[in-house]
Amino acid sequence: MENSISVFIGVVTEEKAKTSEIIKAILTIPGVKSAWELTGSLDLIVLASSQSVHSLNVVVEAVRACAGVKETTTYLVLDSHGEVKQR
């Protein structure tokens, strides 16, 4: 059993925002584990973990507040499979 809770935060960025700067800012947020750049309906997906639901929500809010972030959608991780165990 994992002793923390994890979410993926899907991010849509502003049209003219510099993705590299957004990622740089996101990666400084405590609780953020990693970020991937994507094509399609989401521009970024961010993995974040915390032992506490309240501190994890602080992480989600901090991602939302980053300059250049237009909208976010949060997905709870129920389980993970394969080699990447990122919690």
Partner: protein
């Protein structure tokens, strides 16, 4: 009920457990933490070794609020050794049961009575406060135990300890025994020292104070010979929760005390251990967890996790109900629909066991 005192014997009884040994520094730190917590007595045995003597000196010199009580046998030799540390309190013990008198001390009952009175009078003549311990009291003929307690009291013992040395009492038999002694000698101040061989040390200690004893002996994490004695955490919380007293105890430091002991001894705390065990504020079952959420814990908690420096945690997995997913949806802004909650729920039910846990 009178104010119940706490004596912690981690540095004496606790050290008599296998694998438990504190360095001088660890002994001093343990005493300091116990003092900050608010115990009334810290029992130390300086008769064991040079290390134990140095540790006792350190603790006596530390200027603690708690009484440091030095422990030894009811012999002039031990009393002289204890007295050499210039303590205020000493505890001397003498067996009172037939089996101990015959096989351990090789003394008659009359000899034991005389020894108790003589050694207590000697210690009192040195200006010491004295607790006299009737070892194996619970297996001692009650009339003889009362004679012994009266002899100790008349000789000047400030406190008398009634022990369940091998942990064979029930709460009702312990109540009866302590009540008999207290009724026979109303002015005697009684301690209780109950071993946990049958898991009844806490219950027997509480029965004792209901019968008139005024001091319970404890150890951090319930250490001690064999199955140990009552855990300081459970006794302290019982006094606060059940008897509405000892609000002065710094109960939020109990987890720190427990962890310190585990770190020093590498003996891990049982997850089911009251107050400090890691499972104590973990909620898992769906209906339980739902009730906990709706009642702010009251439905399934005897006291709040915050009161003892802990946090409530929820476990998500096979046993979960929809409540925990709705809770997460609300608190993380997931905006899950009922259909999405149901689908996630169905997937959790496919899992084997617990997936993750978090602080609520």
């Amino acid at each position: 009920m009178q104010r119940i005192l706490l004596l912690d014997s981690t540095l004496r009884e606790g050290e008599q457990a296998p694998k438990v040994r504190f360095s001088r520094e660890q002994s001093l730190q343990t005493a300091g933490e116990l003092d900050s917590f608010g115990v009334d007595f810290i029992e130390v045995s300086p008769t064991v070794s040079e290390r134990s003597r140095q540790a006792a000196k350190d603790i006596l010199a530390a200027g603690l609020k708690a009484n440091v009580i030095l422990h030894g046998r009811a012999t002039k030799e031990d009393i002289d050794l204890l007295h050499s540390f210039s303590p205020k309190w000493i505890a001397i013990y003498l067996s009172t049961s037939d089996v101990h008198l015959e096989h351990k001390l090789h003394m008659t009952k009359q000899d034991a009575l005389s020894r108790a009175a003589e050694t207590i009078r000697y210690a009192k003549s040195l200006g010491l406060k004295v607790r006299f311990t009737c070892e194996d009291a619970s297996r001692t003929d009650a009339d003889y135990l009362i004679r012994m307690a009266r002899a100790a009291h008349d000789a000047g013992a400030d406190r008398i300890s009634i022990t369940d040395t091998v942990g064979v009492m029930t709460p009702s038999s312990m109540y009866s025994l302590v009540h008999k002694v207290k009724s026979a000698i109303p002015s005697a101040e009684l301690d209780v020292h109950c071993h946990n061989d049958l898991g009844l040390a806490l219950a027997n200690s509480l029965a004792s104070v209901e019968a008139g004893a005024t001091c319970i002996h404890t150890c951090i994490n319930g250490a001690g010979e064999r199955a140990g004695i009552p855990k300081i955490a459970e006794v302290a919380m019982a006094l606060q929760v059940l008897y509405k007293q000892r609000e002065d105890l710094q109960i939020s430091t109990l987890p720190r005390l427990s962890k310190m002991f585990s770190d020093f001894t590498r003996l891990h705390c049982d997850p089911f251990s009251p107050v400090v065990g890691e499972n104590v504020f973990r909620h898992k079952g769906g209906t339980h967890l739902g009730a906990v959420l709706r009642s702010d814990g009251k439905a399934y908690e005897a006291f709040t996790p915050e009161s003892v420096g802990r946090a409530r945690r929820f476990v998500v997995g096979e046993y979960s109900g929809k409540n925990v997913l709705r809770y997460l949806s609300t608190n993380l802004g997931l905006n899950l629909t009922d259909a999405q909650v149901a689908k996630a729920m169905a997937r959790l039910k496919e899992k084997e066991g617990d997936m993750f846990e978090f602080e609520a």
